[in-house]
Amino acid sequence: MFYRQAGVFHTDYASDSSLFPIRFERRAMWLILALALVAPYVLDSLVLVSYVQPWLIWTSAVLGLNLILGWAGQFHFGYAAIMGIGAYASVHATRNGVPWEFAIVLGGIAASVIGMVFAFAALRVKGLYLALSTLAMQFVMDWVISHVPAVSGGVSATLQSPPIKLLGQTITSEAGLYYIVLAWVVLVTLFMLNLRRSALGRAFIAVREKDFAAAVIGVQSFYYKLVAFAVSAFIGGVSGAILIFCFYRAITAEQFSIEVSIQLLAMTIIGGLGSIIGSFFGAAFILLLPGQINTLMTWIAQTFSLPIGPETLSHIPHVIYGAAIILVLLIEPMGLGKMYRNVRNYLMVWPYGYLRK
């Protein structure tokens, strides 16, 4: 219906390989970008700071995880540790006088270098064993972060992040922080979109489908695994740094624990492996749904004066979180991104459903 391909004729390669070949989608993207730009002046500041901003930051991290899990097909159960490394590196760098712009890139590079350690596990094993070894590495990283005083500033210490100074301007306003977050997520999204039509992305997909077969046709599978780990760790590291600088404003070891790794995985898989729009959906789903359900439950409990204790209520978001993962996997294992694609493919040829490929 909306996604009409009728009348869209690609007469050259450039237009055929454009990011959004369908006119409706191209216009929708501009509209969404415009809405995102005016959001700080339209939305309530509470909604902006506590919903939109974390959603965008987590989305950028999920996109990074999607690069390694959905595109290169390598398991990464320690992504939160990678984000933590980026965050700690950049916080320490700014505290030692490095300008913020460089510090944040430094965080990404630090995450990238340590993230490549994970890649050496990928050299040796794959599949389940890679998942388990990265899981174990997350435990080791957690331990190192919380037990080495030079990193965490002491056992269970909290480090304040210095205010952001971008090009000499101190940024403290909500809108300013929001624009930094927005710029980063747009950058990552553009990178991921372009991955689809570049040799790098195709090499990742070849490695994902079968690394031996990829090696046979001349794609160096270990090299591309290493690149995938490094790039996704860079994205994760910078996202972690932005999470600290723009949202939490202080850093502790618990912010990057194993639970967060699992949460990121849940976002990626519920969003849909390899799906970019799915990453946005998945992050929103996991971040917002449990809280909303809990508000609903509290409201129900109060309205109908049900005897639900505060302790029970505090566990219900986790029940919902677990149930949501199970349900999405049962209904559509390829996630919300696939659901969106199904709707899109249906509307593309509506009302001539038999044309669907």
């Binding site: 388990l132 070894s133 435990f139 080791v140 898989i269 029940v319 993962i325 996997l329 049962l330």
Partner: protein, 295 residues
């Protein structure tokens, strides 16, 4: 820092390790029959401990007598989990299966805490607290009972895999397509393995619940169970027992040595390092089957 101290650590570690092997056996049983790495085993163990307590509270009986009832409930719960959550995912990539078991882990933990609350509770199995003296060694009686139970479970499984139903399970583990084609009900076999692994979870939950307290901490046994399962080979029950012994001894001695040096919390670190080293050096474990991959 004398020899006796380390010997004591080793003996108690070995028995604790056999109790880890109980958790690991559950993981191995499921992995053997359906190649599903069950990351919800820790949550199942925790839920089992809570269910034992719930039965003993509701019926006013001793926890020891509530264990058979809890075992029955867990047996059915295991089958239910397989039927509802895992059967539909057969044939999907392993990442979805892993995520499903992680989702189950979160769900089971949260639903248990929703019903019975997160405050730590004690579970008295009637094992005296006084240590047992063997020569100069102090031995924790609860660990001793746990080790014996683990060995009994191992013996039962050894026997079970020689019965008709056990041979069916072994056939499924060996090649499920071939089993299917000769008329073995693979679904029932996999459901049975989930039920059996829930039984071991009940034993593990009750024993660990009596050693520690019954709270969320029980689900952390997952990492130890996984490490033992991988070290022994993911499809070898005997391997799980031996690896449990090994990990228990190594963990206890290293933690006893490193804890004063590094300021505590090295137990998890040692376990994680053992897991990493195992996977890097010998991914198929001590007794696991080599996987040969075809293009």
């Amino acid at each position: 820092m004398d020899l006796i101290y380390y010997l004591e650590l080793a003996v108690n570690g070995a028995m604790g390790g056999l109790m880890y092997a109980l958790v690991a056996m559950g993981i191995v049983l499921i992995y053997k029959s359906s190649s599903v790495p069950n990351l919800a085993q820790g949550a199942l163990t925790m839920a089992a401990a809570y269910i034992v307590l719930a039965f003993s509270d509701a019926l006013g009986i001793a926890p020891l007598l509530a264990i058979p009832l809890a075992a029955l409930a867990m047996f059915l719960a295991g089958m239910l989990i397989e039927r509802v959550a895992l059967r539909r995912l057969a044939g999907w990539p392993i990442v979805m299966v892993l995520m499903m078991t992680l989702g189950l882990d979160i769900f089971i933990r949260a639903i248990t805490l929703t019903f019975w609350g997160g405050s730590a509770r004690t579970l008295q199995l009637g094992i005296p607290d006084t240590p047992l003296f063997i020569g100069p060694l102090l031995i924790n009686r609860a660990y001793l009972v746990g080790a014996v139970v683990a060995l009994v479970f191992f013996a039962i499984f050894r026997f079970f895999f020689r019965t008709r139903r056990g041979i069916l399970l072994r056939a499924i583990a060996d090649d499920y397509v071939a089993s299917w084609s000769v008329g073995i009900s693979v679904e029932h076999g996999v459901a049975l393995s989930w039920a059996l692994s829930s039984l071991t979870a009940t034993a593990a939950g009750a024993l660990w619940g009596s050693v520690q307290t019954v709270d969320q901490g029980l689900s952390l046994l997952l990492l130890k169970g996984l490490t033992v399962a991988v070290l022994g080979g993911l499809d070898s029950i005997g391997g799980a027992v031996l690896a449990g012994l090994l990990l228990g001894i190594v963990e206890n001695i290293l933690a006893g040595y490193l804890d004063p040096l590094l300021g505590g919390g090295t137990r998890e670190l040692v376990v994680a390092l053992v897991l990493i080293l195992t996977i890097m050096i010998r991914p198929f474990g001590l007794f696991g089957k080599h996987d040969i991959e075809r293009i």
